[in-house]
Amino acid sequence: MQEILYQLFGPNSELREIIGLTLVMSIFSTVISAAIGIPLGTWLGLTEFRGKKTWLKINSTLMGLPPVLVGLLVFLLLSHSGPLGKLSLLFSLPAMVIAQVILISPIITGMTANLIAINASTINETCLGLGIRPGKKLQLVLQDFKWDYLLNILAGFGRSIAEVGAVQMVGGNIQYKTRVMTTAIMMETNMGQFEQALALGLVLLVIAFVVNFAVQSLRTRISDD
């Protein structure tokens, strides 16, 4: 226990680097996925159009994409023998963010679309009745459902922190560059260094708990409104 605390708050901490990299990666992934997922999900929830059911089905399928498959595809895309090889993005933080965005955007989109679709008829009727223009309508929706949106974003964040397969494949687990908590745990376990793996696991658990606690608090807050 002392060991962990020393590593967390002591000098030259590799543990802090790993935590830092994890948070940077997850925050970028979540923000970008939310920027895609929330507007798209909201629009899908509110709008009726031909082929809507198909698009929702496609999104559902994307939500179920196996992370290792995404890892493989992004790896092949960014590899020097692949189409985007010239960008030299493989084994970097941006590569990890790309893979995570592919995994998490459908999740946020799907959850948002669901959430909005349930309320869609009410929203649409009210806005029609009051003669509210689309721009203002969007603004009102964002305001009214902001806690629900935040819930979805936090779910996306929780997902991104826990990702290991895709992130290992495209990141390469390079010390101080792309080594995040999950890949570090896997590595320490493979090396038989179980104490280190457990220490990392403990920190990851604490972060996961904090996020989940926030999610639960929001849920109660929403149901109280």
Partner: protein, 272 residues
């Protein structure tokens, strides 16, 4: 109808029980080996021959030598096949082994990009080559996983009077992984790395051998049978069977021939 079903079920259970009985005689052998040995394809090559000759089944797991040896400590292996002399000797000193036999060797090679930016080619020793790489700041992939290969690599840095630190020397990339992955990563990055020749030939990628056959890169493999005194279920008979089989003419011949047809050269050499 019920009676028929009952009889059938008893029949199935009986057959199952008898079937299981015949399997119990030869317990599977849990072999813990290193990623270098596994990624070179040697075990996949030897395994069917061994199993056919002795009737034992081999269950092989691979990890860096450090982790592979740890499995012997925690009772998760019956036999170790590793190449990390210092770690092996520490293991033996603690009395965890029944016997340790060095049986095979090969050489490490320094591989890297074909254009050799650091000018490694023609170095007299591996230490000299490492000095050149550090001086140039050329990308170098290290396994950083307490494996036999990693230990050998660190010893060469030490002999060169250098101590690269991934925190400050950004050309020194520590990936914490096995040999196959190290080679793939180095190939992607067009970086230098050290590898055993066997695994390199099986995972060439876009790397070339830039230095080989120098004295400070000899690599010896040993088998360690785990003592049954610490964990009762240790399969000493199985471990012994493997050790005995490796010493046979047939096995030695197989080892000497491995890689000749595919790569035009032997990858492992028998110790006499």
């Amino acid at each position: 109808m019920k009676k028929l079903f009952f009889v059938l079920m008893m029949g199935v259970l009986l057959v199952g029980a008898i079937g299981c009985q015949t399997q119990v005689e030869k317990k599977p052998i849990r072999m813990s080996t290193t990623t270098s040995v596994n990624d070179s394809g040697l075990m996949a090559y030897l395994q069917p021959e061994f199993e056919k000759a002795t009737g034992y089944k081999l269950e092989i797991t691979s990890a860096g030598s450090g982790a592979a040896i740890k499995k012997g400590e925690t009772g998760d292996a019956d036999i170790l096949l590793v190449h990390s002399k210092a770690a092996e000797e520490a293991f033996v000193a603690q009395g965890f082994d029944e016997q340790r036999i060095s049986f095979m060797y090969n050489f490490f090679v320094i591989v890297g990009p074909a254009d050799d930016p650091a000018g490694v080619k023609g170095s007299a020793t591996a230490a000299d080559a490492f000095k050149a790489i550090a001086a140039k700041g050329a990308s170098f992939v290290t396994r950083g996983d307490k494996s036999g290969t990693n230990s050998a690599e660190l010893k060469i840095w030490k002999d060169a009077g250098l101590a690269p630190d991934p925190a400050t020397d950004t050309w020194y990339k520590n990936i914490g992984a096995g040999m196959g992955q190290a080679l793939n990563t180095a190939s992607e990055m067009q970086a230098y790395t050290i590898s055993d020749k066997a695994t390199y030939l099986a995972n060439k990628g876009k790397l070339e051998i830039l230095l080989e056959d120098v004295a400070d890169m000899k690599n010896t493999y040993s088998m360690i049978a785990i003592t049954p005194k610490r964990f009762a279920e240790t399969n000493l008979a199985g471990a012994q069977a493997f050790i005995d089989w490796v010493k046979t003419e047939k096995a030695r011949d197989l080892i000497a021939k491995y890689g000749v047809e595919q790569y035009g050269q032997a990858l492992f050499f028998n110790l006499d």
